[in-house]
Every structure is written in structure tokens, then in C-alpha cells.
Point group: C2
Chain length 238, copies 2
């Protein structure tokens, strides 16, 4: 389980424009730059940041995509209200930033998942094709060779695919990206690992049997359990 790679933390080989993104992002999220405010022109920004204009532009492009700024050709660059225009990519920045409310957001994310995923599991039980079922089985049969957290992510992914609900697949991608970094809070406990393995088998059976209600209940139970475990873990830390 604890492979050598797990004790290492990736070095920060940030690109230059990434650093600029972070810097401006920070200022917007913490309120130094308010919605409606106009940013200095690219040329000035480049001068002030002591980088080339092309680099500034790459950064601005990303900020625009995050919903943090609006770029108007011939006019200028304006700060947007990210609560109205921000997307889930931006939420990552909020989570990984040092805004102090990371834990709250994780719990809110778990709440959303607990509401949404059981219903999707039911749809999956109804709509799944035989090919879907085979993919799901393949993941579960991977067994002990693959880390539980990876298997778990894939199980959810294939359930999503089975449901056929495209938007949910993309929302789930976001969940998974986050839980990749915070999943250890749950999976570092041996009992929870066993619990999840059992969940994988149980929900597979329910989906195979096309038992919608059972799939829904199994999904709800495991997510409620997960949520509770993480809550406890957090409280223990505080």
C-alpha cells in the first residue's frame, strides 16, 4: 500500500505564467481586486511583473477561463464576480489556497455527492449495458494489486458511465480530482478499506441485477458512512 512513491512529494516545477495566475487569482479571491475593477493593460502588467507580454497573456487566458476576469478587445481587462461566473476549476484554487475554509468545502462536496450519487446509481442499475457491467467487474476483480483509492475512483467512474448521465461524469471527475488529495483521510484506516471493498462488490451485484432501489441504498449508505468517518477524523485533528 505504501509504495515508495507515496512518501515523496512532487517538486514544484511551476511555469512562469502559472505563478502569475496564482498571484492575481489570490488578489481577486481575497478581495484586493474587486469585481468591475479594471486591470492595467497587458503591457504595463508585463513591465510590473518583469516578464514578457506573451507570458502575461497566457496567464490572463487562464484567468479568463476560470471566470475571474473578462477580456475585452480594444477596451481592457475587468475583474468579474467569481461567485457568479466562477466554475469548478476555480473551486480547486479556493480549496488548495490558504483561505482557511478548505475543510468546510470538502464537507460540502461530500454532501453534494451523498445527495447526487445514490440517484445516479439507481439510473445506472436501470440503464447499464452488458459492456458497462464487464468494465465494472474488471475494476473490482483487480483486487488487492491496485490501491483501494484508485479502484474506488474507477468504480464510481464506471457507475457514472453506466448511468449514461454525461454531466454527472464531468462533475464526478471533479470530485475524484479532489479526493485524490484528501482520500487518505478515509483510506488510511484499514477498516474503511475493507468497508469500501465490500461496497464495490455489493453495488456491483445490485447493478448486475438491475436492482435500482438496492443500488441507491448501497450507494447512500457508503457515502453517509464515508462522510461520518471523515467528520470524525477532522474533529480528532482539531
Amino acid at each position: 500500500m505504501t509504495s515508495p512513491a507515496n512518501i515523496l512529494t512532487p517538486v514544484n516545477k511551476s511555469r512562469l505564467h502559472e505563478e502569475i495566475v496564482l498571484q492575481i487569482q489570490e488578489k481577486i479571491i481575497c478581495g484586493d481586486l474587486m469585481p468591475g475593477e479594471k486591470l492595467p493593460p497587458e503591457r504595463e502588467l508585463a513591465l510590473g511583473l518583469n516578464v514578457n507580454r506573451a507570458t502575461v497573456r497566457e496567464a490572463l487566458k487562464k484567468l479568463e477561463m476560470l471566470g475571474l476576469v473578462k477580456i475585452n478587445h480594444g477596451d481592457g481587462i475587468y475583474i468579474q464576480d467569481y461567485l457568479e461566473s466562477g466554475n469548478l476549476e476555480l473551486l480547486k484554487a479556493v480549496i488548495y489556497g490558504n483561505t482557511g475554509n478548505t475543510i468546510d468545502i470538502i464537507l460540502q462536496l461530500l454532501f453534494i455527492r451523498r445527495i447526487l450519487s445514490p440517484e445516479i446509481a439507481a439510473v445506472a442499475a436501470k440503464n447499464r449495458s452488458d459492456a458497462d457491467l464487464r468494465d465494472l467487474k474488471h475494476v473490482i476483480d483487480g483486487g488487492e494489486s491496485v490501491p483501494v483509492i484508485d479502484a474506488d475512483m474507477k468504480v464510481h467512474h464506471y457507475i457514472a458511465r453506466s448511468s449514461g448521465n454525461i454531466p454527472y461524469i464531468f462533475i464526478l471527475n471533479f470530485f475524484n480530482q479532489i479526493f485524490l488529495d484528501y482520500g487518505h483521510l478515509y483510506f488510511e484506516d484499514e477498516n474503511n478499506m475493507i468497508h469500501s471493498r465490500k461496497f464495490h462488490n455489493d453495488i456491483y451485484k445490485a447493478i448486475a441485477d438491475r436492482n435500482e432501489k438496492k443500488a441507491k441504498k448501497i450507494m447512500y449508505d457508503v457515502l453517509a458512512y464515508t462522510e461520518e468517518q471523515i467528520r470524525k477524523k477532522i474533529q480528532a485533528v482539531e
Copy 2:
């Protein structure tokens, strides 16, 4: 309601790099470019597309953010499996593209909203502050002067804020961006407009009274109604 602007369709003043994004995006989504495949180097792409390398880079930057490609310094650019790495921004491309499944995705989106939003409404009734309530009232009191669809979006937005659930706010932003373009399917009917106005008042009262169950039910009912109306509208078209 039908202001002059509504009968006009915005001219396509697409930036050059946007066009490149669309072109490559299309090839990836339709399967011409498969996951794992390596894209030609930037210099070659620029040559082939007959544009400057800087322009290609801006396009690639966006494709990377959409989760469509992975850029490795010193190595190259690889196509990713967007079903595993794509985010909601990419979903927009799928919706507005000509993949033929737009309507299905809209209905799936409505499904998710119907599951999620009532629960959020309940939380909002519990957590709302007096300031939240004032904002909500302000939108509703805007009355006939503002188009129903705008008021409706804002009502949902302020309910989201009242709930305090940050991730939901960002997911809702996505919903709203889509419904801005497809909301006419619902709001072009006079009865539906009246229905929505009533909904605004009803849910305001429930939230003001901190009546969680009522807020949840009111939200569920209106979303179920909306969904049904849009379903009918679609079937009528076909």
C-alpha cells in the same frame, strides 16, 4: 419580453485561437484523435494551420484547461481521455457542438438539478442570514421590470448563497449559463412565467420562515414541473 436584441443572433467575432480550439476539440470529441495519441509539435501545428506559434500556444493552453490534452515540457502534447479528465467547461463544448445529443444532455442536466437543488433549498432555509433574505427579496421585488429568466437565475443564485454551499454555487453557475440559452423553451409560455413568479414568492416565504421541508418541496415541485414542460416542448418539436 421580445426585445429587438432577441431576434438578432450575435455575429461570430471569434478570435483566431478560438477557432483552433474548436477545430481540435471537434477532432478529439468525435474520435479522430484518440487518447494517448501525440499531437504534432507546436511549430508544425502553426505551419499546418498557417498561424503564428503564439496563437497555437494560446489554443493549446485552453485545450489543456478543458482536460482535452496534456502538455509536457520537452516531450510533447498528448490527447487525454476527456471522459476521465474533462470538466464542465468541456461539457459546454459538447452541448453546443453538433454531436446530436444536446437534448439528452439538457434533460440529464435538469435531472441533476431536480435531485440537488431541493436539498440545497432546505439547507438555505436553515442557514440563511438576514442579509441573504434581503438580497432575495430585492430580486423578487424587481417585479415585471426585469425578464423572468434573469430574475429566476438570480433567485436560484441567492438561494445557493444562502445555503453557504460553495461547490453548489459553482455548479449552479454552469446550469445558469446553459439555461440562458435554452430557457426560452420554458419561459416563452406565459403560464410558465406566471408559475415561476409564484415560485419565487413561495420559496421566499419558506426560506424566510426557516421552513426547511417546505422550501425543499417547493423547489422540487417547480423543478419537476419545469422538466415536464420542457419534455413536452421537445416532443412537440420532434
